[in-house]
Symmetry: C2
Subunit: 195 residues, 2 copies
Amino acid sequence: MSLRYALLALLNVEPMTGYDLHKVFESSVGHVWYAPDSQIYPELRKMEAEGLVRGEDIPWGKKATKRRYHVTPAGTGDFEAWMNSPLEYSRVRDPAHLRAAYLEYAAPEAARAQLQAHIAHHEALLRQWNQKIEEIDTGTSAMLTRRLATLPADQRQRSRAFKRFAYEGLIARAEAEIAWARSGLRLLDELGPEA
Amino acid sequence: MSLRYALLALLNVEPMTGYDLHKVFESSVGHVWYAPDSQIYPELRKMEAEGLVRGEDIPWGKKATKRRYHVTPAGTGDFEAWMNSPLEYSRVRDPAHLRAAYLEYAAPEAARAQLQAHIAHHEALLRQWNQKIEEIDTGTSAMLTRRLATLPADQRQRSRAFKRFAYEGLIARAEAEIAWARSGLRLLDELGPEA
DNA sequence: GCCCACTATCTATGTCCATAGGTATTTGTG
DNA sequence: CACAAATACCTATGGACATAGATAGTGGGC
């Protein structure tokens, strides 16, 4: 149900084609939300049918056209209504911590490898997010720059601050995961080889 | 795909009915993995067809029977193979942080309410997990006690340590989320009412 | 001018999961 | 003993998502 709001948020910045949206999900934003194109195109059509976005065929080359969608006032209203409604927290499904609870069943080397993979995974995320923060601070983020350009000057500081805040949360989480996995490695050392 | 491994992990402790498994998911363990009964019963049948578990009809009252499943050697092998295989990290879908990135579109009171709800949500989780740690330390967890009873004495310390480790990770994450949301509230204070 | 990677869109299949029911028996409580 | 609550198991429907394709035009390099 959140896919459409992720799409509305992105289209709010600037009109895009389904292909563009898919590329955005594949890149940076993909670590907050992701969708394959096979989900994006039908959702856009549904949203257009509901009047939340409107697509227009724009020429592409000499024979072809592509469909670029922009948000309608109804779409903006829907998005803001969602933003102002309480967020429902769905049930957790957490394979990493499910495994951790039963790590005794894994071979010690496998347990170690998994914790190291956990660290590597979150370190990679951390690098990306730190880079995002860097881009926000230095104004080198193309997406954010375009978004700021659509806002009145007095709101830009606000927008920038919220964007930074979101990434800070992701960074804090990644750091917590890394610290936890490191403590797991220490635990394996302490417990030594299994009996 | 992880549901069956969650089921195998639980059935490894002791044979249970589908109803029992569902109750376990509804309670404590449900914060690592959850499944509705409408998913559990069919999955158990599939697993039995594949030879991972075996169910036996045991009498219940005077007319009825219930079906209790236990893990077969093939099931144990499958579970251990999974535990020793690398965990694949699926794409993230994170409604809370998606919203945070666009918090400027929310009314300030709504933004504040959401951050407070985020804090309340994770504080509730925190309480449950701290209680779990307490139960592990004091030996008052029925599930863990039964599991420990199935293990040789020299492995109990190990099992207890891993279980504690898993909950420590969940606690660390919840604390990070709370700290982040609190910093968001401070940010709202600093930015003041919107223009 | 040919080839190839990219852009752009679409369909089809299957799994996972949420939600909402249904039925029958048993067990505990007043 | 009646009755409610819990136990036990089941089906049906629909949405969300993964995966794996198909098709067709475009743009750039050799």
